[in-house]
């Protein structure tokens, strides 16, 4: 694998103007929900973070109606080329988000996409309704990787559940609605078609893939929640295949993610049919990874497509 370049030296915001659901963006690289906390990062890095903001839009961490503490630690397990997390969607809840987070996130230099999740369709409707008229919010992303407590079905694993959910919330807002698909479905393409038919404006994929690890000493599950979600380089090939499959089956714009580390990885997902690419786990290794990926992508575009540049077998 070619050495990963340095974040230093990327002075100007990379310019690759992109339109997504009518939103004008400086380049196609955003963050995966839950993998970057712009408020905490600003505490660590100060105003320099805002000046060199790594993404062309900011996707905030999943918001639920009620506040959540998240799962008991340990929450992380490192894998060869990735990690398993069982964070458990800690967040301040809708009221906390509106009071504390939204005003700060609205001051970021890029459009804001709010990611929401509910345990019933009515909860999701309440969340969508709360943001429907907020001018600080450019789009909404529905995290459907959770069970509907009324039916027991993972909303996004079942085309029928997904259709009913999107139909329920579609009339509530004119803002773009992005449905974030789960890869833990038998046929993500069928879920994608259901979301499109029900009125979604865009789809994002992939979310994390269920996985687990045992404590090497006790041989009991390591993660506090037992199982977690796999992300990082190790899921890249799966993401690419799912993005291509979904792109074939729907005509909606796609936000593709899963293991993106370099401009080349982003380019692969764009070629598979995506409009935007999100960087997740790689930001843990370098807060400015998104900016570097965008710069590398711009460089690839400048060079023109030159598939011979990398040995085909390189990872």
């Amino acid at each position: 694998m070619p050495a990963i370049g340095t974040g230093a030296g990327i002075d100007a915001t990379p310019s690759l103007p992109t339109t997504f659901c009518g939103i004008e963006l400086a380049h196609p690289i955003v963050n995966g929900s839950g993998t970057f906390d712009a408020i905490a990062a600003r505490r660590a890095f100060g105003d320099a973070l805002v000046e060199q903001f790594p993404f062309s839009a900011f996707v905030s961490k999943t918001v639920t109606v009620a506040p959540r503490e998240g799962n008991p630690p340990p929450r992380l397990w490192e894998l060869p080329g990735g990690l398993i997390n069982s964070i458990g969607l800690p967040n301040k809840g809708l009221d906390g988000y509106l009071t504390h987070d939204l005003p700060e996130l609205a001051r970021l230099p890029v459009p804001l996409i709010v990611n929401v999740m509910g345990f019933t369709r009515e909860e999701v409707a309440r969340l969508v309704d709360a943001f429907a008229e907020r001018e600080e919010v450019s789009a909404l992303e529905l995290n459907v990787s959770c069970p509907n407590v009324e039916t027991g079905l993972i909303m996004g694993a079942d085309p029928g559940e997904t259709a009913k959910l999107v139909e329920r919330v579609r009339p509530l807002t004119a803002k773009p609605i992005i449905v974030k698909l789960t890869p833990n479905a038998t046929d993500p393409g069928a879920v994608a078609e259901a979301a499109e038919a029900a009125g979604a404006d865009a789809l994002s994929l992939i979310n994390t893939i269920r996985g687990m690890a045992l404590d090497p000493r006790t041989r009991e599950p390591w993660l506090g929640a037992g199982t977690g979600g796999v992300s990082g380089a190790t899921v890249r090939a799966i993401a690419l295949a799912q993005v291509q499959e979904v792109a074939r089956r729907v005509s909606l714009p796609l936000v593709a993610m899963g293991g993106v580390q370099r401009g080349r990885d982003a380019d692969d997902l764009l070629r598979a049919g995506a409009t935007l690419v999100a960087v997740g786990t790689e930001s843990f290794r370098d807060p400015l990874a998104g900016r570097r990926v965008a710069a590398e992508l711009a460089e690839l575009r400048r060079e023109g497509s030159n598939p011979g540049a990398d040995a085909p077998a390189s990872t």
């Binding site: 990062a41 503490e69 998240g70």
Partner: protein, 283 residues
Amino acid sequence: MSATATTTDDGRRTLSPPGRRRATVIERRVHGSYVVLRVADPEGQPARPGQFAMLAAAERWGGGDGERPFLPRAFSVARIPAPGEAEFLLEDVGPGTERLCELEAGDALWLLGPLGIGFGLEAGGRRPLLAGGGVGIAPLAILQDELAASGAADLAPALLGFRDAPHAEGAALLRHGARVATDDGSVGHHGRVTELLVEELDRDERAQVYACGPPAMLEAVRALCAERDVPVQLALESGMACGYGACFGCVVPTKSGYVRLCVDGPVLDGEQLETALVPGAGH
């Protein structure tokens, strides 16, 4: 060292530049079971005692066939030997530390930091008392340097606990005095560092304790200080993926719920905690 370092959180946090940067190992020293890496980091600002950095080797890390290590590892800044430099204390305990321990002078590494909130040096007239165990002595070295430089008169020696003689060689990192305890009695006091702490507190309880070490030691120090109403600041450890609040993976339970150790710590007040035994730490 730039005079313009920006600090926040009552001077306990030096802000980090937002990108990881390529730094160079300029010296590798072996202290018994430990390796000290001296790193040139001209773009970096001087850490406050207790702050940390995320480190990864620039080569053979999270690439190629995707072997572990994949994520950077958190290390307390152990000392600032000169402007634009930092020292880190390492012990080979897993794939990440093994790779970093191999680095030689001239090798490159990725560095992000300084990160987190360090020790509060305002001791309200109490005498500072430093207690550390194992590789956790690292932040006490920079803390002791700073206390000595600010003229803290008759600074008590730092109390340091180790497993055995090879580990006890780490005590050389503390330049302004140390008393050592070892589990096997091969160096210094035969027993636990908390026994030395009890001695010191028996002598004079008007102390502000600063502690860093393995979870069981930190918990013993926390409980001891709570019992005697002695204020204590503990530098904790937990598994970190990012070091700057992005992943929510490093939480520890406190009396007010989970806090992310990388942005709200790693130094916490003993009073914030029911226990310093952090699930998953020390792995």
